[in-house]
Amino acid sequence: MLLLAASIVLALSIGSAGFPFMKVWSILLHQLPWMADRPVAWTKLEEAIIVQVRLSRVMLAILVGACLALAGAGFQGVLRNPLADPYTLGVASGSSIGAAFLILFGLQTFIGMWSIPIIAFATGMMTLFAVFWLARSQGKMGIETLILSGVIVQAFLSAFVSYMVSLSQGVINEILFWLMGSLAKRNWGHVSMMLPFLLIGLPVLSYYSRSLNLFVLGERHAAHLGVRVERTKLIVLIVSTLLTAAAVSVSGVVGFVGLVVPHLVRLIVGPDYRLIVPISAIGGGIYVLWADTLARTILSPKEIQLGIVTAFIGAPFFAYLLKRRKAGLAKGG
């Protein structure tokens, strides 16, 4: 939590218009109602940059990271698959197809700001079940088979989204940028759209974290200990997909966050989901915040996509997990 607060202030001060650390602090504190009468030592413009532009972006990065990391923890727990995350399961791409469809054809204005996450959730769920259907043989889903199915579905859907992009004119650049994962040109509206998803997702997954611990022993073991296995699976999958859809609606496809963060958390706090779930949310926030800060500063004033940064870190991490799993299997463990 402390680390998160420190990261917020630090990330706020980094940017094309540099601000000293102390100034950011005082501007932030000034926003608190009981601090408002303190002397003002900055311009209106500076305050606007910090509060309107940077702070909203920082908050959004944290929310996106928290949602994706939670979704990853949920998928990994309920599928007992260490390689699962919204991206490798194809759910992120599935959500993006619904969202891209709405954005491209300008349909989102009909039902308001909730239309994108709702449609993204629907297509994400459909994708998830399509992937399960592909991966299932004789009632079982192999760990690698599931990921392979996810990758195949993801490849197909990305091609489809690219095709939709080619069909349309005008919005192309923005869409492409969004698809590769980006937090540029977002505002407080996006923050208030995402927050409810996290406020639903976090308590639900925390509630099921004890059941997820029992899932570690196997579904049958969990059932014998009184877990309603099918119900738990369905709810956790739905909530994880919902969190993914919310994140994708705002930031496009930001890969591997749900893979990297829960694993790092697991290394630190151990296998207990009662800790993994909440700490993944915080950790995911910090992780994406720093990834986004890197994304907007590394080639400053040009900006690279957030998705590129997370893939640079996440894909090698995925390779490492895969390799370690193979080594573990070779040892017979």
């Binding site: 059941s211 049958r220 059932a223 014998h224 009184g226 296998p271 207990d272």
Partner: protein
């Protein structure tokens, strides 16, 4: 305690269980025996309510098994599965503590003093010094002991064991079944165990249920059930049944069919 009536379980067109009926009384240790593919493990899964079936009826304590809420059922029915516990990075104590799940409310609290119950289960299985060890640092036999400690911490009145001794060497087999038997007798529990080894089944069980081709081929005390004739009928092999020199239960001695025949031939020729 357990009433099974005309139970039918199909996998595709094949009938795994084909009209199984029997009743078991409370407070006994019952063995389910039979050849491979007779449907023993399937039967146990159905009895514990985690496997659906096509026809018939299964009642536990006069209530249909599929009408139970899983959590309330888990407060008096525990299952030890054949494949044992996976090697995870949970500690022994954490795994045993998971047995308290059915007693916890939605916040994860429970009324009873769970720590004392967990300690007792660890002590009973001689795991007190292992409590903080991680599961992936234990051998298969040690993990199976943890599994049994977990079953104990669940404080059940009915216990299902699915081939609990499969992956254990003979020392651990006897140790595990001794603990189960002692615990069963001192608490008046009901134990139903699928057992591969006929001799162990005869030594530890009050009654045996014989499954053969999806049907009950015999039910009774080991003395009634384990006869050379039954073994020939069910397993298709010749065996000699003798009395155990110390405890008096029937014991099965196998004889190699081919060598037996050739030896007879040699004897006949000389």
């Amino acid at each position: 305690m357990i009433h099974v009536k005309q139970l039918v379980k199909k996998a595709g067109e094949q009938r795994i269980l084909d009209g199984v009926s029997f009743s078991l009384e409370e407070g006994q240790m019952v063995g389910i025996i039979g050849p491979n593919g007779a449907g023993k493990s399937t039967l146990l899964s159905i009895l514990s309510g985690v496997e659906p079936f096509q026809a018939g009826e299964v009642r536990l304590r006069d209530k249909k098994v599929d009408e139970y809420n899983r959590k309330s059922l888990a407060r008096w029915l525990a299952v030890l599965r054949q494949e044992g516990l996976p090697s995870t990075s949970f500690s022994v104590r954490e795994v045993v503590a998971m047995a308290r799940f059915p007693y916890q409310n939605w916040l994860g609290d429970e009324e009873a003093n769970s720590e004392a119950i967990i300690d007792h289960a660890l002590e009973m299985m001689g795991l007190s010094s292992f409590a903080e060890r991680r599961m992936d640092q234990l051998s298969g036999g040690e993990r199976q002991r943890v599994a049994l400690a977990k079953v104990m911490a669940q404080q059940p009145q009915l216990i299902f064991l699915d081939e609990p001794t499969t992956y254990l060497d003979i020392g651990f087999q006897v140790q595990l079944l001794d603990s189960v038997r002692e615990w069963q007798q001192s608490n008046g529990l009901t134990v139903v165990a699928v057992l591969h080894d006929l001799n162990l089944a005869a030594q530890y069980c009050d009654r045996l249920v014989v499954l053969h081709e999806g049907k009950v081929a015999g039910l009774g005390t080991p003395l009634e059930v384990l006869t050379a004739e039954n073994i020939r009928k069910v397993y298709g092999t010749e065996a000699i049944v003798m009395k155990h020199p110390v405890i008096g239960c029937p014991q099965v001695l196998l004889q190699p069919q081919r060598m037996h025949a050739s030896k007879q031939k040699m004897e006949g020729g000389s």
